[in-house]
Symmetry: C2
Subunit: 255 residues, 2 copies
């Protein structure tokens, strides 16, 4: 890998439930004279995948449980939002006023179970957007679309912005992957001096999600899809974003 380019797909239309993301990406890329090729990686913001999959929930339809009401009062959050957060999670990892850090059912740990209330149309004020039900599957479907439609083998990453312990500022991380060698396992290889490397499992998916999210912008820019070229890898891995989740028994920050 020598040089890679991170290309925003411009003029991406607003996505609503039922849209065929593959078709939309293909058309937007084509309009921008961006050609998808073997070995490219397409990074797609979780938000548009969730919208296409109809993961928008009206808060007025949610009746908070006693547990949700209690947590809401403790964290000073909307009890209906809290209900959604606990429905989407397996565990509350940390909480304080305004903050709920939870382990999502998918295994990812972050604020509010990835539930988003920004960049949702005004007509859906009082709505919340959940993560895709199975983002690895969503990624695989996009990969398959490009294989069938264009005869090319690409990698797909579905990204989300995350806060992290100890460090300020969000970065993009991968919550869905297909084709890409998600965790590049260099263990057993030797370093420049022939010494065996100890810990070198490189998270390619998060690195790509991170730069793509930066280039997308997270505010007004309607550019939720980024095309990465130059990785020079075959995109035939069976790894998924699920493989990123550190096994609980091996995790020192579960409690």
């Amino acid at each position: 890998m020598k040089n890679i380019s991170i290309n925003v797909i411009p003029s991406f239309p607003l996505i609503t439930k039922g849209d065929d993301l593959g078709e939309v990406v293909l058309e937007a890329a084509s309009n921008a004279a961006l050609k998808l090729e073997d070995g490219d990686v397409l990074v797609v913001a979780q938000k548009v995948v969730s919208k296409a999959e109809g993961r928008l929930v009206k808060l007025e339809d949610i009746i908070p449980s006693e547990e949700a009401n209690s947590l809401a009062s403790e964290t000073e959050k909307d009890p209906r939002l809290v209900q959604l957060i606990i429905d989407e999670s397996t565990k509350v990892v940390r909480k304080k006023q305004g903050v709920m850090i939870v382990r999502h059912k998918l295994g990812h740990v972050g604020a509010n179970a990835g539930i988003d209330q920004s960049n949702i149309e005004h007509s859906t004020e009082g709505s919340a957007l959940l993560l895709p039900v199975a983002p690895d599957k969503s990624a695989r479907q996009l990969k398959e679309f490009f294989r069938e439609r264009c005869g090319i083998s690409i990698g797909v990453v579905i990204s989300d912005s995350m806060n992290r312990p100890w460090r300020l500022g969000t970065v993009g991380e991968a919550i869905g992957c297909s084709g890409l060698n998600v965790l590049d396992d260099r263990r057993g290889e030797t370093d420049m001096y022939g010494r065996e490397l100890k810990i070198t499992l490189i998270n390619q998916a998060d690195a790509l999600a991170s730069i793509a999210t930066l280039v997308m912008g997270e505010t007004c820019e309607a550019t939720p899809v980024v095309l990465i070229k130059g990785l020079n890898q075959k995109m035939n891995s069976h790894q998924t974003a699920g493989d990123i989740i550190r096994p609980l028994e091996d995790d020192l920050f579960c409690d």
Copy 2:
């Protein structure tokens, strides 16, 4: 920001104590016909900065304290290495067999206080490489070098590979920065639908460190310097990597 390119500087020589990194980068980039320009960001692996600054320590010179011996026996690590780790840290955050997660004096939390034993010459078997004493200052010096020598204003990021809670695989993070708008503060801006954004402090430095580290490779590739073009930003920020550290009183994962 529309398209950015991540360019490895190839044929980078081995760095030893006292080398002038600015001169070495300039020559290697020039040999590769890579021109540094206003607004570029140079990402430099911590390892070469530490080597240039003479941060290599011989383990045989270290006499472990009682505390180090006790921690070493608990974690099954070399007591001399443990001594270095605790000397470099303010707190042991987590420990178990083979693992010490500490808060480095600089504020960054990670394994072994960033002390590295790979990619160090064979002649220094039994050596360890500490982080630069003041990586923000090292970054500023590099930035100044290019201002004085080439009349250009670039951003500089010093990167290190980090493990993280909950997620497998290392990613690059920024431990030293100069010029770059490290934390891009979009709070107070509105989203596509005019709603005020709640949490949008974007960590540009970590995103750039992350992709640069991926492109560098972490094993045999002797390519510790990466040039990023296309950010379209002025590189005159006074933010540093120190600004990334989440204040302790605001951190839910300090204990």
